[in-house]
Symmetry: C2
Subunit: 295 residues, 2 copies
């Protein structure tokens, strides 16, 4: 299996959906422009791809859930736009481009984020977008994503992240931040595969364990890249975590130990897939791929 | 029928739901505090009450949909928090209290809004919260609310409202702003009643017409109150629309004609209820009540 072409193919499905879905003319046009600016700023569509691969692992055809999987990218994009705001992380650069508020101003950036979040739920509540998914399963996936995104998930992680700047790092807080800020949505990305398919509890449990490990590994690797990557490769300012004294794995455990932790998490993620045979190969390759990514 | 005690009773149901639902300890606590600060800042729960009254009009017991109706207030509250931000309307006072960002800072205010919006969809996707509503009807109501809140509804209205400050008022733009910024969610509030109940198309159409008229009337009256009300009674700074040259009905049509428009809209809303007999009395009284409100 060629993981690069697998990822490119699935990314193409997601991008094609966005192009069609957002092609109708909106009013006022600046809102649509601002949403599309960040949505097409070079995101790798990791979250939708995880959902598509997990659905495939359960026996489904990924093409049947492209709209629903794509909503994960809408939510991820909204969170980046809001995180970059002057009142939050105050970032000027994201994926090598000026951040949303640098182009459209703060007000439109806030509203574009709000619209992206809301649009995710509009899509997730449109049962006509797939003939293969029952309304009950779709509702289950929507709830999974909502819970991972809000008060008990991503938003809680972002709040704790901000509160922890310039504070002494401790393992418990760091674990809370990562499992909520990025881990929760990555976990949900994997879980909506079996939920939309209506898989057995055994499959759901195995994929949940995979998602938990991948979710944490992803963030540990992000922390490492913030130190080791260069600004050009990453498309965001290297060393920006250190600048504002973010609580990170390398800061708490050092670089060498952090890399070991990431490797172990990826190994655990793959071990969780032992209930599947070759149908989970894409998820196995994605896990390995995350370990070698440079941006 | 005593409309004041009707409203107070329904408001009590909504407040009791919020108190129970948000009673579990959240982490980090400041996020929960900020959400509850705005949620209990004196909102009249008009949107949930419209949903409860519409459900009752269709033959249901309002108590069966309190959690779902309450989500309208979560979304309304999120929109107020974001609208008040310095980058948007930059308001210091809301319902007689300092605005959210004045107390908690901009970052937490943005995130509290994000969390309130997301939590609405968590609640709307929890089919266990009512034994009387089918999953398909619940999904329909969720979709109704999502569409009214986002890119084609409330957010679009807020963007156009900002773009129109200090511009010459015109009827078409004003109609767009009002029907999207406040009208869409008020319309959805009324419509989720028949949608959750699974009513006939005739009932849905009648209630939609009521909702459209009530939605627009509500905003015209708001515009009038911004000029005629006093700051103390309204709990927000009187004349604030004029200060930033907002596009309003009185600015375009004058006060006298605006009051006439509001009265006509309320009359049209009540006329739309002619397919119902006494079961729609609460909606009729609510329409009259809106015309006489002072804040």
């Amino acid at each position: 299996m060629d993981i690069k072409s697998y990822l490119k193919d699935k990314q193409g499905l997601v991008d094609a959906f966005f192009k069609t879905y957002f092609s109708r003319q909106q009013h006022p046009p600046v809102l649509q422009e601002a949403m599309l600016y960040s949505l097409f700023a070079g995101g790798k569509r990791i979250r939708p791809i995880l959902a598509l691969a997990a659905y495939e692992t359960c026996g489904g055809n990924p093409r049947d859930i492209v709209p629903y999987a794509s909503t994960l990218e809408l939510i991820h994009t909204y969170s980046l736009i809001h995180d970059d705001l002057p009142a939050m992380d105050n970032d000027d650069l994201r994926r090598g481009k000026p951040t949303n508020h640098k182009i459209y101003g703060e007000a439109i950036a806030i509203l574009a984020g709000d619209a992206l979040l809301t649009e995710a739920f509009s899509i997730l509540s449109d049962a006509t977008l797939s003939s293969k998914v029952s309304v009950a399963h779709l509702m289950g996936a929507l709830r999974e994503i909502a819970l991972a995104s809000g008060l008990d998930g991503m938003v809680a992680g972002q709040v704790q992240d901000m509160l922890s700047e310039n504070r002494e790092p401790d393992g418990e807080t760091l674990q809370f931040i990562h499992s909520h800020k990025t881990g929760a949505l990555l976990r949900a990305s994997v879980r909506i595969g079996p939920i939309l398919y209506g898989s057995s509890q055994t499959s759901l449990d195995a994929l949940t364990a995979y998602g938990d490990n991948i979710g944490l590994a992803f963030q540990v690797i992000d922390d490492i890249l913030d130190i080791e990557g260069d600004t050009e490769e990453m498309g965001k300012t290297a060393g920006s975590d250190e600048k504002i004294n973010k609580m990170t794995y390398p800061r708490l455990y050092g670089l060498k130990r952090s890399k070991e932790i990431a490797r172990n998490l990826v190994a655990d993620a793959k071990a969780a897939l032992s209930v599947f045979s070759s149908e989970a190969d894409s998820l196995r390759e994605i896990a390995d791929y995350l370990l070698t990514r440079r941006n």
